[in-house]
Amino acid sequence: MSSFAVTPAEGEAHPMSQDRKVKIGMLFYVLADAAFVVFLLVSYIWERAYNTGGGWFNFKGMALPDDATSNLLLALIVLSAVAYAVAHMGIRAGNQGVLRVGLAIALVLVIVTLVWQVRFMGQQQFSTQDGTFASSWIMLNGYHVYHLAIGIFLGLALTIRAFAGKYTTERHLGLVTVGYFWYWMALMPVLMWLMMLFFPAKL
């Protein structure tokens, strides 16, 4: 008895589409990354809850990170996600112009955020050695910067490909899958921001 039959006519056609494969793969990548970030955020809460011996923040007359700048940086990255969404809607409607402009804006916003974020981190009066708050703050923002760097690589690729006319209304898989990452890249600072709101440096 034979377990397997080959029907030559259908030989190559795979039941699952290539697109679904790539989407699920990207989703899992984002999930794994999100899991990593969740553990970093948990570490922040943990250090806050269990901080031993008042080491949470050594105020040697130093200022905490400036709220206004934090909010602005958050707004920039969220705006970038909005621009990305607009670009995506543009190509779905078949409008190459909206796609290109939207992607370019999204990319520029991320670059601006990255530069500003790095400067902001450099401006702080505290360093990694000033207690667990300083450690966690720098660590979380640093990881965010790493995300932004990956985002720049992906955004650059998408923009170049968009200007090369690689995307059509029917086929823009790259845009969809990079989108998963892009929205996650914007969501992560929102989570961070909420953390700082609910578990602030000073109570």
Partner: protein
């Protein structure tokens, strides 16, 4: 083999074969390391403030990062991302074939090759090397512990050996199913031409290589520091917060290398999951997957979700060491650097949230493989297919809910212990289902006692001892006495060596003919089997006795009351190691001079045995359509185990 493929196989000259290859990767990697290390040491770290970042460590880390980049450039891993970035021509089928190693002979094993079968063999060899080196560690451990007294080396060397043995073995065992078999066998089993993401696949192997190289450099780091002041690695594989911050520079290499290996296994795990979810051929329903696929699937799920927690832990430890953050520094302002406020339990929880699922990562594929082999060699359908799947998946779900059982005496959340004790004991129920299926399948079977079957049976009785000792440990009052002692060591070697390693041996003997085209030598196989099983059981029973007596783990020197069981354990551990040495010899010998294997030497029904040996580049001439399950044995159902190959391959039987 198909003539069509042979005709358009390209040919290459030496330069094309060598650039890019692992050779250029290694050269650029070394150059990268030297540049990074030298630059930081010469220009950034000069005249730095004692209290500031630790530049000795920073130079090492930057060196490693550049080494990694150099390696990836050198092997050509960045080629595709860059062409994609620049919106160049998409690679066509021909280029894909070239990347898959068509027509490159043995050189393809030393390149960034995407063919899942090449990656599978690469993994197999690397995993065997890791197992050998880990076993060398076991040999050194048992030699030191043979008699009381610090016999052979000072305690810091001993601690380094234990740490490296533990982590190297764990890395090897995490990889040793998903890597070789998940790559080589699973795609063929489900009727696919390759993994879902062949480049990602090649990348995950390419990340493991530098990880292992960096890991093996640990003993040479901090060698200049004398024993009294802490060269080496004093942490144990658990790498808990404060001690990992404190110990010698080897810990930086450890953290970096394990981070890399973790990333590699996350990527590999995702690839396996997506392959199984999306690449099953027509008719390969979820209920027709061989159990091996289920086991590897569950294991990959755990890897993809759980490993992040450990990588986060290692990341924080690296920051603590290199930039003097204070996630785990508990100093209250008394020291010069002014850190403080960190918490040690954070590290434990991040570690064990990964660490517990990780032990099932090791054992789930073995569950699957053992159920598979027992069905095949008993010529019977699985006693309960759904039962087996529920068993595996039940373990997957429960394994995220039990991690605190490693911290029963840590003082963290003692009021939650009743809950973790309950979830831990519950895991015996899905595990028990796997045993039910295995025992029910072998019962009244036409048992064919081959070497792989023998190892599958040995799995059953060895693992049950490990599982039952686990139930002892899950009981809080008993664990208060047993934790941190040799009883725990005995428990997990019974589960890992007696369970997973036996499953691995079974898998190697079973799939070796398909992977290499040659049978493993059966006589050597039986010698290996008896030496390994006798040695293993007596050695670790003796260690269990030492544990009951109250001998702590990770000690270079111990009270003379524990002398007798330790001597017995060492002698029989040598027997075990001799057995595994026979295995290593057998692998090499059979690979070179073994008997040529037929396409389906075991008369198995699953898909990988229906393709010719050696497996052609794209596995199937035509993608098969599956009409029956892999276990359609049994008297009324099937007449003979012989399989007629669908697309004109050899007929086995």
């Amino acid at each position: 083999m198909s003539a069509a493929h042979a005709a358009d196989t390209p040919t290459y000259n030496a330069r094309q074969l060598l650039v890019p290859s692992y050779l250029t990767g290694a050269i650029l990697g070394i150059v990268g390391f030297l540049i990074g290390h030298w630059y930081v040491a010469q220009y950034i770290g000069v005249g730095h403030d004692e209290a500031g970042p630790n530049f000795t460590e920073q130079a090492l880390v930057i060196g490693y990062i550049l080494a990694l980049v150099g390696w990836l450039i050198g092997i050509g891993a960045f080629k595709y991302p860059i062409t994609w970035l620049l919106a160049r021509r998409e690679p066509d089928h021909e280029e894909d074939l070239r990347l898959a190693g068509a027509g490159q002979g043995w050189v393809r094993y030393f390149r960034f090759t995407t063919d899942h079968k090449v990656v599978g063999i690469q993994y197999l060899v690397l995993v065997l090397i890791m197992l050998g080196l880990g076993g060398l560690g076991a040999f050194l451990i048992r030699s030191e512990l043979a008699r009381p007294g610090a016999l052979l080396y000072p305690p810091n060397t001993y601690n380094t050996i234990v740490t490296m043995h533990g982590m190297l073995m764990i890395l090897a065992t995490i990889t040793f199913f998903i890597g070789p078999f998940g790559n080589f066998v699973v795609p063929i089993m489900i009727g696919a031409r390759d993994m879902a993401f062949p480049r990602l696949n090649a990348l995950s192997f390419a990340l493991l290589v530098p990880a292992v190289v960096i890991f093996l450099s640990i003993p040479w780091l901090g060698l200049g520091q004398s024993a009294g002041t802490g060269g080496g690695l004093q942490t144990g594989w658990t790498f808990y917060g404060p001690i990992a911050d404190q110990t010698g520079i080897g810990a930086t290499a450890f953290a970096f290398s394990v981070l890399l290996a973790g990333t590699s296994s996350i990527l590999g795990g995702i690839n396996v999951i997506v392959t199984i979810v999306t690449m099953r051929t027509r008719g390969m329903r979820w209920t027709r997957l061989p159990m091996t696929v289920w086991g590897i699937f569950g294991s990959a799920l755990l890897v993809a979700i759980g490993t992040s927690s450990f990588t986060a832990d290692l990341f924080l430890i690296l920051l603590d060491r290199v930039w003097n953050t204070s996630f785990f520094y508990v100093a209250t302002g008394g020291n010069s650097v002014g850190q403080g406020g960190g918490n040690a339990w954070l590290s434990q929880n991040l570690f064990w949230f990964f660490g517990h699922p990780e032990v099932y990562v090791i054992v789930l594929p073995a569950f699957g493989i053992v159920m598979d082999l027992i069905a095949i060699f008993s010529r019977k359908p699985l006693f309960g297919y759904k039962t087996g799947v529920i068993g595996i998946m039940g373990v997957v779900v429960l394994s995220f809910l039990v991690w605190q059982h490693h911290e029963f005496v840590s003082g963290w959340a003692p009021e939650l212990r009743f809950w973790y004790m309950a979830t831990t004991e519950l895991i015996s129920i899905p595990t028990g289902l796997v045993f039910l299926v295995a025992l029910g399948t072998i019962w009244r079977g036409r048992v064919w006692l081959t070497v792989p079957m023998a190892f599958a049976i040995a799995f059953l009785w060895n693992f049950v001892v490990g599982g039952l000792t686990g139930v002892f440990l899950s009981d809080v009052p008993a664990d208060v006495q047993l934790h941190g002692g040799m009883f725990v060591v005995s428990h997990f070697h019974f589960t890992i060596v007696g369970g997973s390693l036996m499953g691995f041996f079974a898998a190697v003997y079973f799939w070796f003919p398909k992977m290499t085209g040659r049978m493993m030598d059966a006589r050597l196989g039986w010698i290996h089997f008896w030496l390994a099983n006798i040695g293993f059981n007596i050695a670790f029973l003796a260690i269990m006795v030492a544990g009951l007596q109250g001998m702590p783990r990770r000690v270079a020197d111990y009270d003379p009351v524990f002398a007798t069981p330790n001597l017995i354990a060492s002698i029989f551990a040598y027997v075990l190691i001799a057995g595994v040495a026979v295995f290593f010899f057998n692998v090499v010998y059979s690979w070179v001079a073994g008997e040529k294997a037929a396409a389906n030497p075991w008369g198995a029904l699953s898909l990988e045995w229906q393709v010719p040996t050696p497996v052609p580049l794209e596995n199937f001439e035509q993608i098969p359509v599956v009409t029956t399950g892999p276990y359609d044995y049994g008297e009324p159902a099937a007449a003979t185990p012989g399989i007629e190959h669908a697309a004109g391959g050899e007929v086995a039987g």
